[in-house]
């Protein structure tokens, strides 16, 4: 054992000076590392939860000329979501049900059932939307007809511009964000 290792910290007034210096370095170390952890951690948290910081709004999407929708008929229409990227593949194209009530009055429904989001199907003969998952049923105007769904079908905002039907889409509708 070298004499250096065996040296004891001096007692008495000297001891205080030693411990203060050690304490200071310890505190400095803790503070520095906390700052560093925040500098690394906050951007990571921000990255993961970026959808919360900058939420994507619904935007106007074209569903084509109104002339392709006969009055009183409900049609299935697919549209490219506005935020679609190549990697999204088939998921970037979404379905909706378009019903032309009268001339420029439309009812445009999301395909997602309001119960648990399964795709509802339109039955022309009985004028009903039926959900295959738990048997939810909706009338032609989207109102709840039967089964577990807590409300009618989700409806898109729409407008007709220069003979073209536009809907405000691009966001998955849920009970918390029905659109």
């Amino acid at each position: 054992m070298s004499s250096h290792e065996s040296q004891q910290p001096p007692l008495g007034p000297e001891a205080k000076r030693y411990s203060t210096r050690r304490d200071f370095l310890l505190q400095l170390g803790v503070v520095l590392n906390t700052i560093a952890a925040l500098m690394i951690g906050l951007p990571i948290v921000g990255f993961i939860f970026s959808t919360l910081i900058k939420r994507t709004p619904r935007v106007w999407v074209s569903l084509g000329p109104v002339s392709q929708y006969p009055e009183g008929v409900t049609r299935l229409k697919s549209y490219d979501t506005p935020y679609r990227r190549a990697v999204d593949g088939p998921t970037g194209i979404i379905n909706c049900w378009v019903r032309r009530v009268t001339d420029d009055k439309f009812k445009i429904f999301a395909a997602n059932c309001t119960h648990l989001g399964c795709p509802v199907r339109w039955f022309e003969e009985s004028q009903l939307f039926l959900c295959p998952c738990h048997g939810g049923a909706f009338y032609a105007d989207g109102e709840h007809a039967a089964g577990p769904p807590p409300r009618g079908l989700y409806e898109y905002d729409y407008k007709v511009e220069k003979g073209e039907l536009m809907i405000k889409g691009g966001v998955l509708p849920t009970l918390a964000n029905p659109g």
Binding site: T81, R121, S126, P148, T174
Partner: protein, 516 residues
């Protein structure tokens, strides 16, 4: 020469041991002493779960060499694995059946630990870490299903989003975090990929080390004897004495049954993989394919069934309150019942609880497989009409039979067992409901039936009701109002009921009950 060589080898081994402390490591891990009674077949579920996890890691790493976590490519990369990559189908199958085995055996392990009282003092943390391991495993099972990225997986995420969207105040934000974007897309898949291959397995490994460390430090539960009570004051000393007096080293003396059980499990998994093959991918996860039904994998089918069978509006109860209460109970269990009897022979309520939980989950899973609550979307065009429900009918009734077919009634209502199971079978509806009651039910709906008032003309309604009244087994009377037999007999309530006059006259006092 030979002896010298062995001496040298021994020297090297001893040198290594002095540096690495391998003997000490062995004594405190694989070779640690366990109570002789713990060498039981019932105590093999833990090591079997561990084996499943190891298989999942190995096959998972191999699959990750080919799988592409992009919404555009995932499905195709799975087809490539199935059909082109040599043995890709086998590894996919092993990974799928391995995951099912892991969930099932882990639940069995949990039930065994519960019934044998192993969660009691001093193994509270072993139980709690096990509960977290269960949650992580279920998380892995769900995220794994998402990676398949077929119809089930696409709409499965949709169901997940719809459930989160029901949570008050923060629902919309949680949906955004789940999807990683405004819609179910590639960002969603990447999110689940990161969860499935990094976050959850990492967390599972961490928890697993704690779990195993606790098994070593607090010792494995002795096989409980009925009548022997656990007491906080005395148990530690009793256990130490038991291991000291009657203990055996885990390896090689107590591992034999684990080895046999794990060998059998391995063979079963391989056979399942070879003969049943990989799960899917089924039809691609394409939202424009409207003809799709979402069915979660086996571990979550019971939840789907519960959502279908519980009364409308109880979803918040099922998806939020129930999991919260269940979690609290699981975490609190070792503190609620910390001492006392361990053997299941003296704990009837524990036994009944396990039986009830297993029965419930098994029955709900079975119901989930058959899904009788779903309308059968193609029944109205594909299911046959049996002759006895068509023969000897009046023209009006036959017209009604056509209405019933055209308006898709059979998607929900079977006739003669053919058709949907959502609503009641209509084979004998004429004996249960009178014509006016049928008119009311058809026009106004009620229960789980939509109102058809707007979609049926008065003529169609009349024909339909006439047909429904005629749906009775031979020689049975039509239903009558329950107001008094004589009065009901005297005034037939409308023409539809009049048209049907085949009922026997002797059934005056046949009181009927309203099926709704």
């Amino acid at each position: 020469m030979n002896g010298k060589f062995i001496d040298k080898l021994t020297d090297v081994a001893l040198w290594l041991d002095r540096r690495l402390h391998l003997t000490k490591l062995w004594e405190t891990t694989a070779g640690h002493h366990v109570p002789k009674s713990s060498g039981s077949w019932f105590y093999t579920f833990g090591s079997m779960t561990l084996l499943c996890f190891v298989i999942q890691i190995v096959t998972g790493i191999a699959l990750a060499l080919i799988y592409i976590p992009s919404a555009a490519e995932a499905y195709r990369s799975l087809e490539y694995l199935n059909y082109q990559q040599p043995l890709g189908w086998f590894l996919r199958a092993l990974h799928y059946w391995g995951s099912l085995c892991m969930v099932v055996i882990m639940v069995l392990h949990m039930a065994q630990v519960f019934l044998w009282g192993a969660y009691k003092y001093p193994r509270e943390l072993t139980w709690i870490s096990g509960v977290v391991l269960l949650f992580l495993t279920l998380g892995l099972a769900f995220s794994g299903q998402v990676l398949r990225f077929d119809t089930d997986s696409y709409w499965g995420i949709g169901i997940g989003a719809a459930i989160l969207g029901r949570i008050p105040f923060v629902g919309a934000q949680l949906v955004d975090v789940l999807l990683g974007g405004p819609i179910i897309g590639s960002d969603t898949l990447s999110r689940f990929f990161a969860l499935h291959v990094f976050v959850l397995p990492g967390g599972l490994l961490a928890l697993l080390s704690i779990h195993l460390r606790l098994v070593l430090s607090k010792g494995i539960n002795e096989y409980p004897k009925p009548g022997v009570q656990v007491r906080r004051r005395t148990y530690d000393a009793e256990y130490e004495e038991m291991v000291h007096k009657d203990g055996v080293p885990f390896v090689p003396d107590a591992i034999n049954k684990d080895l046999v059980a794990n060998g059998i499990l391995l063979v079963v998994m391989v056979l399942l993989a070879i003969f049943l093959g990989p799960n899917g991918p089924h039809t691609p996860g394409d939202p424009t394919q409207i003809i799709s039904e979402a069915k979660p994998d086996y571990p979550f089918l019971w939840l789907l069934s519960a959502a279908a069978l519980l009364p409308n509006g109880s979803e918040v109860m099922l998806f939020m309150v129930f999991p919260l209460i269940a979690t609290i109970i699981l975490f609190a269990l070792p503190f609620i019942s910390n001492e006392g009897e361990k053997s299941w022979r003296r704990r009837p309520i524990a036994v009944i609880t396990v039986i009830l939980v297993f029965l419930t989950v098994t029955m709900l899973t079975y119901a989930g497989l058959t899904g009788p609550w779903s309308p059968r979307m193609e029944a109205w065009t594909s299911d046959a009409s049996k002759p006895e429900f068509i023969k000897a009918r009046t023209p009006l009734e036959l017209q009604g039979a056509l209405v019933l077919q055209d308006k898709q009634c059979r998607n929900c209502h079977a006739i003669g067992g053919l058709g949907g199971q959502r609503g009641p079978d209509l084979s004998a509806v004429g004996t249960r409901l009178t014509a006016p009651q049928l008119v009311r039910q058809v026009i106004q709906g009620g229960g789980n039936m939509p109102a058809y008032g707007k979609n049926l003309s008065p003529e169609e309604t009349r024909a339909l009701v006439a047909y429904l009244v005629s749906l009775r087994p031979p020689n049975t009377a039509p239903a009558q109002e329950a107001i008094g037999p004589l009065k009901a007999q005297k005034e037939p309530t409308n023409k539809a009921a009049q048209a049907d006059s085949t009922g026997s006259k002797s059934s005056k006092d046949l009181a009927t009950t309203d099926q709704r």
